[in-house]
């Protein structure tokens, strides 16, 4: 039952993971990466690993995104052709 609920989630995850490649604005790309990781959090939760889910949520959404954004802030925002 739960497997069928997860299918649309995994599809969204696939779509966002692929769209990260084509996004030119790097900040948007970082946010879409965070979406992919958030869906991973939900998957962990459904696989009955709530502690892993909590760790993943706080590290990915809090710190990884922040470090990416700081790195982009100090270089360039748009990807060059």
């Amino acid at each position: 039952m739960i497997d069928y609920i997860l299918i649309p989630l995994v599809l969204v995850m696939f779509a966002s993971a692929i769209s990260v490649i084509f996004i030119k604005d790097l900040i948007v790309a970082v946010i879409v990466t965070a979406v992919v990781d958030l869906i991973t959090v939900v998957l962990f939760f459904f696989l009955q690993a709530p502690d892993v889910a909590i760790t993943q949520a706080s590290i990915v959404v809090g710190l990884t995104t922040f470090i990416f954004v700081v790195a982009i802030m100090r270089t360039t925002r748009k990807e060059e052709e």
Binding site: A17, I21, I59, L63, F66
Partner: protein
């Protein structure tokens, strides 16, 4: 060209992940190691038990040495990142943060710290533990750095906490080695499952890990936000 290459990499990774995950026999019979864990971690007379969650028992008591390694890797990563950001030019901000955001952060920040402490103090009773608690504390510090630019974090305190907690972890492990014959032996006994003071050294180790990770990542946030 680059896009096609990246697409191929992502596609291969995704397919590999899908293939591997679909072949893991989740809940279908146990390997030898899992059997050992299940039989010993549930047995209440065994000193290697006591948490309400079997995963916590395994992570802290059977695999405690790995946790020491993880904390070391994290320390190296934080140091490397601060070296990487050292001396880079600072970003100029064009406008002041809003008064409302400042005030809201001032009110919310201590509660984030409190939640982090709650999560690692109750690590053996609820999902969570040292790492999530520490990271939550670090996100609180990040929030206050973003919103109150004049805030100065006690940087030397971070260093002191980090160093002393690392030492304490090793000392607890060594006491276990002396008393029980193995590193991180649970020398305090299991206690009554479900109480706050139970599960032997698990809460101590979780408090140590939580403070260490929190101080480490807060120092990382400080290094990236506050330039030298």
């Amino acid at each position: 060209m680059r896009h096609i290459f990246a697409l191929i990499v992502v596609g291969t990774l995704g397919l590999g992940l899908f293939y591997t995950l679909s072949h893991i026999p989740f809940g279908k019979g146990l390997s030898e190691v899992s059997k050992y864990y299940v039989e010993n971690a549930i047995d209440k007379n065994d000193p290697h038990a006591g948490a309400t969650n079997i995963v916590t028992d395994i992570v802290v008591l059977y695999r405690g040495f790995d946790t020491l390694g993880e904390v070391t890797v994290l320390f190296l990563a934080a140091t490397g990142l601060s070296v990487f950001f050292f001396g880079l030019k600072k970003k100029e901000y064009t406008c002041e943060p809003s008064l409302i955001v400042k005030r809201g952060t001032g009110i919310i920040f201590p509660f984030i710290l409190l939640l982090g402490v709650y999560i690692f103090v109750h690590g053996h009773l609820t999902p969570g533990g040292g790492f999530p608690g520490g990271v939550i504390i670090a996100t609180g510090v990040l929030l206050i750095y973003l919103c109150c630019r004049d805030y100065k974090a006690p940087h030397s305190l971070f260093k002191v906490i980090e160093g002393s907690m690392g030492t304490l972890f090793v000392i607890v492990g060594l006491i276990g080695l002396i008393v029980g014959g193995s590193f991180l032996f649970n020398f305090l006994g299991a206690g009554k499952t479900g109480e706050l003071v139970s599960a032997g050294i698990i809460p101590i180790l979780y408090i140590v890990i939580g403070l260490k990770v929190g101080a480490e990542l807060s120092g990382l946030v400080k290094d990236t936000m506050e330039d030298v």
